[in-house]
């Protein structure tokens, strides 16, 4: 892995094809002046921010990335970077161009099967292209900056292993997403992937805004779809309605708060966005088999 400051251009050879990375490249720099990189075809990479929040534009859509999320950019997607705030640290990990296909191949066929099955390459990773709300993944990418300049013996080998593990874990964590992306009943693969990308974008937005009063129209707007079309697509992808998903999300967050904080049941009920403690308790018991008061003995439920 090579650690480099932010480049003026990612593909000095041309701006038409994605750059070919013969090694993993980690671009990172704390900005002392505005940084802009014009739209260009990207390699497969993970876009994060070490400090502040960065604006990455992928296929014309703005993605504001902060300390809690990571954007996966697919090969060939149009990437532009426009970050003007002083002190922000855009950080981009681009994988060795061969690695994603090798890792996908090894997950499907195991390490023991060698390259004879490589006819189907390259694999399609467009189902991963979205914001991943995963602070742990972001931290693993940031830790590579230190490893890249470390004097530890075999630090390069450690860095390569860490980068491979990041991609492998990303694929494993998104096996469900891959399966979900195949649920959409669209004829063309590109249409299916675009719908999946929009629906999962909306789902991520729900994850971040679950405790505010949101409507189906709000969520559909994030996916740039009308509400009925979005409802059908969401159900096709995740096999539940957005409303059911949102309720389940609130209950899971409530369970986490009950187990990890000393907040009262009433406070937790309000914190996750329920208005009635009665309906919260009923739904909680239905979901987890026992009422929240069992975790808070002595508190009225």
């Amino acid at each position: 892995m090579l650690v480099r400051p932010l480049p003026k251009t990612f593909n000095p050879d041309n701006e038409i094809t994605p750059p070919v990375y013969v090694d993993h490249f980690l671009f990172s720099e704390t900005l002392k002046m505005p940084y802009q990189c014009p739209e260009h075809p990207s390699g497969i990479g993970l876009l994060v921010s070490e400090k502040g929040s960065c604006n990455y534009y992928v296929n014309g859509i703005k993605n504001q990335i902060d300390q809690n999320n990571v954007f996966f950019v697919n090969r060939g997607s149009q990437l532009a970077i426009k970050t003007t705030a002083f002190g922000v640290t855009p950080t981009m990990l681009f994988f060795n161009s061969q690695l994603p296909d090798l890792v996908q191949h090894s997950l499907i066929y195991s390490d023991e099967v060698l390259l004879e099955n490589f006819d189907n390459l390259p694999y399609d990773f467009s189902y991963l292209e979205r914001v991943h709300v995963d602070a742990g993944l972001r931290d693993r990418i940031i830790s590579l900056i230190e490893l890249g300049s470390s004097c530890s013996s075999f630090a390069d080998i450690q860095a390569d292993a860490a980068v491979r593990a990041i991609f492998e874990d990303l694929l494993k964590a998104n096996r469900e997403a891959y399966k979900f992306s195949q649920n959409i009943q669209a004829v063309k693969a590109s249409t299916r992937l675009e719908i999946f990308r929009r629906v999962s974008l909306a789902r991520n937005w729900m994850e971040e805004n679950f405790n505010t009063p949101i409507t189906l129209e709000d969520i559909a707007a994030v996916a740039s779809m009308n509400s009925q079309h979005f409802l059908r697509m969401f159900k096709q992808v995740y096999c539940i309605t957005p409303h059911q998903y949102l309720i389940d999300l609130k209950l899971r967050k409530a369970k986490h708060l009950l187990e990890s904080t000393k907040l009262t049941i009433n406070d937790i009920c309000l914190a996750v966005g329920f208005e009635s403690i009665f309906s919260f308790s009923i739904l909680y018991k239905k979901r987890f088999g026992r009422p929240p008061s069992q975790l808070r003995k002595g508190e009225p439920s």
């Binding site: 090579l2 013969v22 230190e146 470390s150 530890s152 013996s153 075999f154 390069d156 080998i157 450690q158």
Partner: protein
Amino acid sequence: MAITHDFSTFKLRVNVKTSVENAFQAWATSAGQRSWFLGKTIFTDPEGRVRGDNEIAQVGDGHAMYLPFKPDEPVVKGKVLKTNGKDLFSFSFANDIPVTITIYKEHDETIVELIESNLPTDEGSVAKQFVSDSKGWVFYLTNLKSTLEGGLDLRNTNEAIKNVITH
């Protein structure tokens, strides 16, 4: 005088006051490697059976090398490429680059000679493979000498300390 250097291979030698047999076992057994190299190494036979701690690895065996403090994920996986069971041991290291160990006597001491070959020689790879790998081996060969001669194990055992040549 212009010096041209072959960056596709490097050779390192270290003299050790021990027997050829001891030096060989330090490379060819799990227990041997554990006493001086990385965190641990596991050798598996072609059927996937894990070799015993003191069992000599054979040609075709797989190996998995783990970093100190990271016992779950191997940092390098490869194969034993060549061995004669007494003074030659060759294995694939990171990026499948072959490393060959030859052990022989010289002036009443045992020489452990390491050759890493087939290194890529493009500009980016030289810094990464030639410089980084040779630097790593220099520390570990020094630790091999120290432990085989009854001295200190020089590896860092404090997990909180990072960015040191001792790991």
